[in-house]
């Protein structure tokens, strides 16, 4: 189980702090696949990366991250090394290019395991079982990355990232560069890994909400560095309480909707810049139901079990 409390991370620039992540508080249960959604610049990648690899220009400002009852020293790059890969693992955005081109896959995995004080030969049987599971031949271990197709590399990276059964897996935009058939296969692997207990909690960072609708148990929506809403997937789609979530979902074209019959609306305006963001709710300039109270930051509060929202109108 992952508990994040008041996590605040800024980017240091010459002109001051860019407030990319402000007071994030949420939990992810064991076995939960949480989608982290939002538009570009909303802080979703900052949040995901700060849980495993918080490095400059990211600056830890405050907050706690507790994984399975143990606090993660996310502010300390060196101490985090003990947790990385073993307990918290990441599938990077361009996973297909994440493999060292000068090493055979097997050797690369052996070196990775050695760096964590583990023996390749001991892990090998399990590694082979997992390759079978994702329908990769054991021969890939003797191949160089260049010999594999894009889809095969993607699967290899996914097997390697989850080999030590991390408690938390962070998947950063892993589907965005893939063709639809591969995209679906990758998503189903994430679910399979969870079902088999290879990972406990999963965070899927993506701008593509339709992917989350397919596989996520819950969705956390962010806007301009603040958490807007977290709820079970169905609730986000059927009964969202934050105006931003509603407008965002409402603006998405779906098969079955044509402009002649139902003209969808976007959200007028653009997000505030985060160097000197306005006080209070950062969505308020674009919000159709904003009122006086919105100049105060709304707390991210649970309004029903598993459903939290940061909006004065929702309380």
């Amino acid at each position: 189980m992952l508990q994040v409390e008041n996590l605040t991370v800024y980017y240091k620039t010459i002109r001051g702090y860019v407030r990319a992540l402000e007071g994030a508080t949420f939990t992810i249960a064991d076995g939960e696949i949480m989608g982290l959604a939002g538009e570009s610049g909303c802080g979703k990648t900052t949040l995901g990366h700060s849980l495993i690899y918080l490095r400059p220009p990211m600056n830890y400002i405050g907050g706690r991250v507790v994984l399975d009852g143990q606090e993660l020293p996310i502010w300390d790059m060196e101490k985090m090394q003990e947790f990385r890969y073993r307990h918290v693992s990441l599938i990077p955005q361009y996973a297909m290019n994440a493999l060292n081109p000068t090493r055979k896959i097997g050797r690369m995995i052996a070196e990775l395991l050695e760096s964590r004080g583990m023996n390749y030969d001991e892990v090998l049987p399990e590694l082979k079982r997992r390759l079978d599971l994702v329908q990769l031949s054991h021969d890939v271990l003797k191949m160089y990355p260049i010999e594999l197709s894009g889809g095969m590399k993607q699967r290899t990276v996914m097997v390697v990232s989850t080999l030590l059964n991390p408690s938390l897996l962070i998947a950063d935009e892993i589907t965005s560069a893939l063709d639809v058939s591969t995209q679906k296969a990758v998503c189903e692997m994430l679910v399979e890994f969870r079902d088999r207990g290879f990972v406990k909690s999963t965070i899927i960072i993506t701008h593509d909400i339709s992917i989350l609708y397919q596989i996520a148990d819950s969705i956390l929506v962010m806007y301009a560095g603040q958490l807007s809403e977290k709820a079970p997937t169905e609730t986000i789609f059927q009964d969202a309480r934050h105006p931003y979530t509603r407008m965002l979902i409402g603006s998405l074209p779906k098969v079955g909707v044509r402009y002649q019959e139902e003209r969808l609306l976007g959200i007028p305006g653009s997000p505030p810049q985060l160097l000197n963001p306005p006080e209070g709710c950062r969505f308020r300039d674009r919000c159709p139901v904003a009122f006086d109270r919105c100049t105060e930051v709304p707390p991210f509060r649970e309004i029903s079990p598993g459903h939290s929202v940061a909006c004065w109108r929702a309380f």
Binding site: E39, S40, S149, G151, D179, V180, S181, Q183, K184, C187, E188, H207, D208, I209, S210, I211, Y213, Q214, F237, M247, L248, S251, L252, P253, K254, V255, G256, V257, R258, Y259, R263, L264, L265, G266, I267, S270
Partner: protein
């Protein structure tokens, strides 16, 4: 209005151009007056190449593209300029379309210098403001700014406004939505619908099925340089005839239904382009038959206006 007749494009690769890559082969379709046609395909399907061929950004290898009856490849000098007055393109990355050193509205001045040097400055400025309003921008908000001061959605509208300054009849919109944020995407889509209402035709090139459904009258599904299926949008989406289209409709993450539990496993296929022998989809097709690997299926009309290239149909 625009018709493609057995259009083929072969790129030559390698040090001496010895390797061939057939990006588009024997593609024929038409775009009618006031029609939005979406050209849908995954990466490597040749959809952007078709857009470039229509805009004459790359020469055609064989076949013919006609615009209002004239073979586009014969145009040069004044007649080519006349063509660009009628046909314009907008592309995926709005930031790459502008020179970051200059203010964004320089693109309008360049249109005037090139096409309308006789128009007075005052009249021109009015025309620019009219075009900006037509794309839903407030002129004082966006004029006299550098590209980095504007959002992706604003820049994309800028480019559409630039096209509107000419007497365009056909807009080639190549993935113009994909780099925009979700909350502003649909506004640019609606803009395309408004342009159609003003009499324009649009070729909407996309990989996103739901966008194509929302906006287009007809859909053309490409697979590795070949048309797999085309027809009225609703027919192609609700009653796909080609196994590839079926696979697309099943695997694309949609908001109106969840993936089915039972996955129809697609076979792993090679990545080579069309070879000329057999159907390009045969290597991955779950319904493959003997003939599929020997002979290539022609695009045939299965029902009124709905074409498919598949032996199984």
């Amino acid at each position: 209005m625009l018709s493609l007749e057995r259009v083929t494009k072969v790129y030559r690769l390698g040090a001496f151009g010895l390797q061939k890559l057939i990006a588009v082969r024997d593609v024929s379709f038409e775009i009618g007056e006031r029609e939005i046609v979406s050209l849908i395909g995954e990466s490597g399907s040749g959809k952007s190449t078709i857009g470039k061929l229509i805009l004459r950004l790359t020469p055609i290898t064989s076949g013919m593209i006609r615009f209002e009856g004239t073979d586009v490849s014969t145009l040069s000098g004044p007649s080519l300029k006349e063509y660009y007055r009628r046909v314009q393109g907008v592309f995926q990355d709005p930031f790459a379309s502008f020179n970051p050193i200059f203010k964004a509205d320089r693109v309008f001045r360049m249109v005037r210098d090139e096409f309308y040097p006789q128009v007075g400055m005052r009249e021109w400025n009015e025309k620019v403001e009219g075009a900006l309003r037509a794309v839903g921008l407030n002129p004082p908000d966006v004029l006299n700014k550098f590209p980095h001061q504007l959002s992706g959605g604003q820049l994309q509208r800028f480019l559409v406004a630039r096209a509107l300054l000419l007497d365009i009849r056909l807009l080639i919109a190549d993935e113009i939505i994909s780099m925009l944020d979700a909350s502003t995407r649909v506004d640019v889509l609606n803009l395309l619908a408004d342009l159609k209402a003003r009499g324009l035709s649009i070729l909407f090139i996309t990989h996103d099925l739901s966008l194509g459904y929302y906006i287009s009258d007809r859909a053309v599904i490409l697979y590795r340089g070949r048309i797999a299926e085309m027809g009225p949008t609703e027919k192609v989406y609700h009653r796909p005839l080609h196994p590839y289209t079926e696979m697309l409709m099943e695997s694309v993450p949609r908001l109106d239904r969840k993936w089915e539990e039972e996955v129809r496993m697609e076979r792993e296929g090679g990545l080579a382009g069309p070879t000329g022998d057999g159907c390009v989809y045969a290597a991955r097709c779950p319904k493959v038959m003997d003939i599929c690997t020997r002979e290539e299926p022609e695009l045939k009309e299965a029902e009124a206006g709905h074409f498919v290239a598949c032996w199984a149909k």
